[in-house]
């Protein structure tokens, strides 16, 4: 049933126990995201050294989907290079059908390409909630854009 696929155990766990919660006193990059239609918020601090994201801290307020997505994102990008993070972001958006193209994930056989994030596939059945899952990723894109310029 769709709702059980939406609210998987791992999502509720990230929602209730967000990883890397807080802020960095020495952030290199910072961005804030807001979904004005629902009020969800997400803010992101990154410390980057030699092109690698060495530290991540996030804060947010919102539904389980946006907050779990943010927590999972923080988990997966830590320790990755900016280039790797961009690839992950693209894969995430493909999986969620936010960007057009073939999903890197075979829904029948969830692998480990995106780790916990794969649990968010259930959101695809709830189109109005896709923007919730995407909020941390648009915030990340803003932070990285600042990093690039």
């Amino acid at each position: 049933m769709a709702l059980e696929e939406l609210y998987r155990e791992v999502i509720l766990d990230h929602y209730r126990n967000p990883r890397h919660k807080g802020s960095l006193s020495h952030a290199d990059f910072h961005a804030e995201g807001l979904n004005p239609s629902c009020g969800d918020e997400f803010s992101l601090d990154l410390a980057v050294a030699d092109g690698v994201i060495v530290e991540v801290a996030t804060q947010g307020q919102g539904c389980s989907i946006s907050q779990a997505s943010g927590s999972m994102m923080a988990d997966i990008i830590k320790g990755k290079t900016v280039a790797e993070v961009e690839e992950i972001s693209t894969n995430f958006k493909l999986m969620m059908a936010i960007e057009e193209g073939e999903s890197p994930i075979d829904p029948a056989r969830p692998g480990a390409v995106l780790g916990d994030l794969e649990a968010l596939q259930g959101v695809r059945k709830f189109p109005v909630r896709i923007k919730c899952a995407d909020l941390p990723w648009t915030t990340l894109a803003d932070a990285l854009e600042a990093a690039q310029s």
């Binding site: 769709a2 709702l3 059980e4 939406l6 609210y7 509720l12 929602y15 209730r16 239609s37 629902c38 009020g39 969800d40 307020q61 919102g62 539904c63 389980s64 989907i65 907050q67 709830f126 909630r129 919730c132």
Partner: protein
């Protein structure tokens, strides 16, 4: 308690996600009875024309229909006469009309606009805009423990600097009824004008502007069975007469010269451009429908269904009502929190059960901050709401608890 009106509302027959629709979002907009839908369609099919400017039969019929709707609105709220009723885009349009028409032309540096922290953005942002242009400042009344506007500091706050008091007749978040009578009395003493944001109160409570004592009452048709795209501004004649128009255009003028113009008499002075004619006709039909039920009965039904809802919601563990629990001091917009389940998740889960509720800040961010809740879920009722709708809501809430593992 069955509800014999439901057959008039075609949309209530539809299924949502395979389930019976339990439409509990009437605070955002109500559903429309077939009488209203048909009135709009019939207008277009039989006498559609522009109003006021024509010397042909259709124009005359359209004008009669449009002005007839104005008379219905006037009578519905107990106005002295039709020309105290201005048709606007809605409550928001009406509040902006007053803010620009009255505020921008009369407020000065040091003047104060008194609001409450429970106001809808429509009754906050226009005043911020006008304050910016004029140098006036905003002052807010807070709430007591029972979600009612706290009047204890009122005597100190209400001084000669206060020129405008604008308050919601009923909160769209907590359902709390606003202290209009008390604010009117206090405002009288200092000569401030009083505006009632009646977006929620006029549809749900019998309203008589003659006894209310306020200077303006504004409301939206779409929240009282009528079409989108229209609302009404009632104003006391003397004030409307001296108020400047906010918008300029056709229909609102007595004369236009190249560099200056003279205005038409009220209410036309405030109705620039082609008005929402078909929507006025639909608004009139909505008022006919409500009058047939009777506003006392509307209120009685609302008290009954709200009491039923509060009782049934009390059975749901981890559920907290954000608003008064005494039905005598509130309407049928019931906000709540459910444990740590975010309101959007509540709404999504309920939607799968066919239950439509709102979730979020309900265009009342200052109130959400004041109450320190990031968002609420809100079930809101109207004349067609039945206990069955509430039962479906409660079933959905149990499902939400289950999915989120609340025990």
């Amino acid at each position: 308690m069955t509800n014999h009106l439901r057959a008039d509302f075609p949309i209530l027959d539809r299924l949502v996600n395979g389930k019976r629709l339990a439409y509990l979002d009437s605070g955002a907009t109500t559903q429309k009875p077939i009488q209203v839908i048909d009135a709009v369609a019939d207008y277009y099919k039989t006498c559609n024309s522009n109003v006021h400017r024509g010397a042909h039969t259709l124009a005359d019929e359209a004008t009669t229909a449009y002005e007839g709707a104005r008379a219905k609105v006037a009578q519905f709220i107990g106005a002295d006469s039709s020309d105290e009723v201005v048709f606007t885009k809605g409550t928001t349009g009406a509040l902006n009309t007053i803010a620009y028409g009255w505020g921008l032309n009369r407020l000065q540096e040091g003047d104060r606009i008194l609001l409450t922290v429970m106001e809808h953005h429509a009754n906050v942002v226009p005043w911020q805009l006008v304050a910016k242009h004029t140098g006036a400042e905003l002052v807010y009344l807070e709430l007591d423990d029972n979600y009612r506007v706290d009047l204890s500091g009122l005597d100190k706050i209400m001084d000669e600097r206060v020129k405008i008091v604008s308050v919601s007749g009923m909160s769209n978040v907590t359902g709390a009824i606003g202290p209009v009578a008390e604010l009117v009395a206090a405002a009288r003493r200092v000569g401030a004008i009083v505006i009632v944001d009646g977006a929620q109160s006029v549809p749900h409570l019998p309203t008589n502007v003659a006894t209310l004592g306020a200077d303006f009452v504004v409301f939206s048709a779409h929240k009282m069975l009528g079409p989108t795209g229209i609302g009404a501004l009632w104003g006391r004649r003397e004030i409307l007469n001296e108020m400047e128009p906010a918008e300029g255009g056709g229909e609102m003028i007595a004369d236009v010269q190249l560099y200056e113009s003279r205005w038409a008499p009220i209410p036309h002075k405030f109705e620039a451009g082609t008005p929402p004619i078909a929507q006025a006709v639909g608004f009139g039909a909505a008022i006919d429908y409500l009058e047939k039920i009777g506003m006392t009965e509307v209120r009685r039904h609302e008290i009954e269904i709200t009491q039923y809802a509060l009782d049934r919601l009390a059975e749901v563990p981890d559920l907290r009502i954000v608003g008064p629990t005494d039905v005598a001091i509130r309407g049928g917009a019931v906000s709540f929190e459910l444990g740590d389940v975010h309101p959007h998740d509540v709404a999504t889960i309920l939607d799968q059960e066919g239950v439509a509720v709102r979730a979020g800040h309900h265009c009342a961010k200052p109130l959400m901050r004041y109450l320190n809740v990031p968002a609420t879920a809100r079930a809101s009722f109207y004349v067609y709401t039945t206990p069955e709708d509430i039962d479906q809501l409660v079933t959905g809430l149990h499902r939400a608890r289950e999915l989120f593992g609340l025990t």
